[in-house]
Symmetry: C2
Subunit: 364 residues, 2 copies
């Protein structure tokens, strides 16, 4: 009591006990009177504590009956289910397609969706999660932000877990995050596929550019390097450009970025494996403006099969992301989680889409 008010202490203890599942039978096990005795406080204090739990949606109070712990599907009857979806972007790149897949499943099931974007900003993610917490969502689909770094918002995810709100990560996830399942592409495997493709088409001085502040990029890079090593090719550091999101919009203007482009212009590599199609497309443009002939003078392979892939010139050879199907799978999985089932994580396989940007080459 010297530090924290009693009602908070009581609330915390009860919160913890609920999280541990001590009250599986339905009722909070204790009436206000029993709690009063147990903690040796007044009934008002007990009520104040329980009020907090009620705000959090952890318990329901019924006059004349008792206080009940909620588990499982939150809203008992009336009222629609609400699902929150948190992605890095909404209207860019392949996200409209993924969201569309999610949306179609949710709306078919009469579930209301709430969509927010983090723009790869951890603070924004925090702010959105806070809103979701007191907005009483019944489930959450999250694309992790900066997942290769320390997870600043772990406390909020813990609170979601305490409230039995199912969370499903997609595309990218925080490793070791309390048994929350994820649906992601097999990024490590994708990196290996890309490398194998590059090698089998005769390239011998491969380069690469990867975003490394999220798991996706790190895994793609790892798979890429492992497969290269297995093929007997080692890649010097200066044929690799590693960057993080801050530089997304202007990686070309960083010292490393400029140096990398210069080396490519000097033909120090014969092909580039790119983190995704957006970067592949913009890098191709830069080199073409400098007069390089593509794909003859340099091969390219990307990830995701975004719109750019079909529209760019030469058309991009790329690993195809299932997008709509991916979104649908994610949504279906979350709905099952909401209805109480345990779901496993999924790694989806890439399928190579061969276009024009990575032609077979002769000895150079």
């Amino acid at each position: 009591m010297a530090e924290q008010p009693k009602y908070l202490q009581v609330a915390d203890i009860l919160r913890k006990e609920i999280a541990e599942g001590k009250f599986r039978d339905g009722q909070t096990l204790m009436t206000e009177e029993e709690l009063r005795m147990r903690f040796n406080v007044s009934r008002q204090t007990v009520r104040q504590a329980i009020a907090l739990l009620e705000d959090d949606g952890l318990v329901d109070r019924r006059r004349g009956s008792g206080t009940y712990v909620r588990h499982g599907p939150r809203r008992r009857m009336q009222g629609t289910l609400h699902v929150g979806v948190i992605t890095t972007y909404i209207t860019d790149y392949i996200f409209p397609n993924i969201v569309s897949g999610i949306e179609s499943v949710l709306s078919d099931n009469g579930v209301v969706m709430t969509l927010s974007a983090t723009y790869n900003n951890v603070k924004t993610e925090r702010s959105i999660l806070e809103r979701m917490l007191d907005g009483q969502v019944d489930g959450l689909i999250v694309e992790g932000t900066r997942t290769a770094r320390e997870n600043e918002n772990e406390d909020l995810y813990r609170r979601l877990a305490e409230r039995n709100i199912p969370v499903l990560f997609m595309n990218s996830y925080y490793p070791g995050m309390m048994n929350m399942p994820h649906v992601v592409m097999d990024d490590y495997g994708g990196g290996r596929i890309a490398a194998r493709e590059v090698l089998s088409r005769g390239y011998r001085r491969p380069g690469g550019m990867f975003k490394v502040d999220d798991l996706q990029g790190k895994e793609r890079l790892k798979g890429f390097l492992d497969e290269m090593r297995a093929g007997g090719i080692s890649i010097p550091d200066d044929r690799l450009l590693l960057f993080s999101t801050e530089e997304r919009m202007n990686w070309q203007s960083t010292p490393e970025g400029r140096a990398f482009v210069e080396r490519l212009k000097r033909r120090e590599a014969d092909c580039v494996t790119c983190y995704n199609d957006a970067f592949a497309s913009s890098l191709m443009n830069i080199l073409q403006q400098d007069g390089m002939k593509l794909p003859e003078e340099m091969g390219f392979i990307g990830f995701d099969n975004a719109i750019y892939a079909e529209l760019s010139n030469p058309k991009l050879t790329t690993l195809g992301h299932p997008k709509e199907a991916f979104g649908s799978l994610v949504a279906e999985k979350l709905l099952r989680m909401i209805s109480g089932e345990r779901e496993r994580s999924v790694n989806m396989a890439w399928n190579l889409i061969e276009r024009e940007s990575l032609p077979r080459v002769e000895r150079r």
Copy 2:
């Protein structure tokens, strides 16, 4: 007290007085002690009442200082601004473009956006509004649902108004809704433009299909008919198909819809003005499958300049919706409203985009 508990009565009175602006100076004017005297209740009861107002975000309590009424920009310091966006659809039609316009402005200003779709269902709209209310948004952009009918959710909009949460309607709005401004296309004017275009190109037996459960459609229809009348053309009822959203997906299979299509096949009209490009496109397909040659045998004009317009064959002549620019304008307006300014409603003008579906015709 015979009916409602005292603390609710007190809360309601205070809520009303706050809404009327009685406490413009900052403090609630009354301390808990003063309120206790005024209402002749105990201090606990007063506190219980104020707690409700605090939940609603109407007041802030500061220990040792007093209870203050919040007006204007909600979150005082820390914490990002949150804006809710409610549209009828998200990933369909022109909505991705509009949302993109909104999103770019909001994210440039560091504002977090939360996006939800009603699918033109008033109950869903209600459910979303409830979430927005206890999610503490700082502003709301709403595309009204079924705006030509009674507004079932007026109570919720009133509560938003009570809490000083600015609401801006777009595309479609509820007439007479407490001074909440709107940004819409000039639908009446658009109807007239379409009619004028049809007439000036020589068509003399014009038909039309319009959705009439929202204001947009009603206004477009009204403008269309008025301009026709002004041009000396009266349109018999059976050359018009009026429908509502329920039938959106399958208007072709309703008795009226089938009858309408049959009349078109018998060439009882020489052109059709369509509620929007989606309907225009699908109607064109139906007639073409029946062997009709377009645009020679029947002219078409739509609204919105959606993707279909460019992709269909023949390419659609249509009235262009500004989409991204529209979204940006809406977002900028709402941000100004959040920072306290009063904003006027806007009717944006259409611009005609001439493609292939409404060619000039000779006397028939």
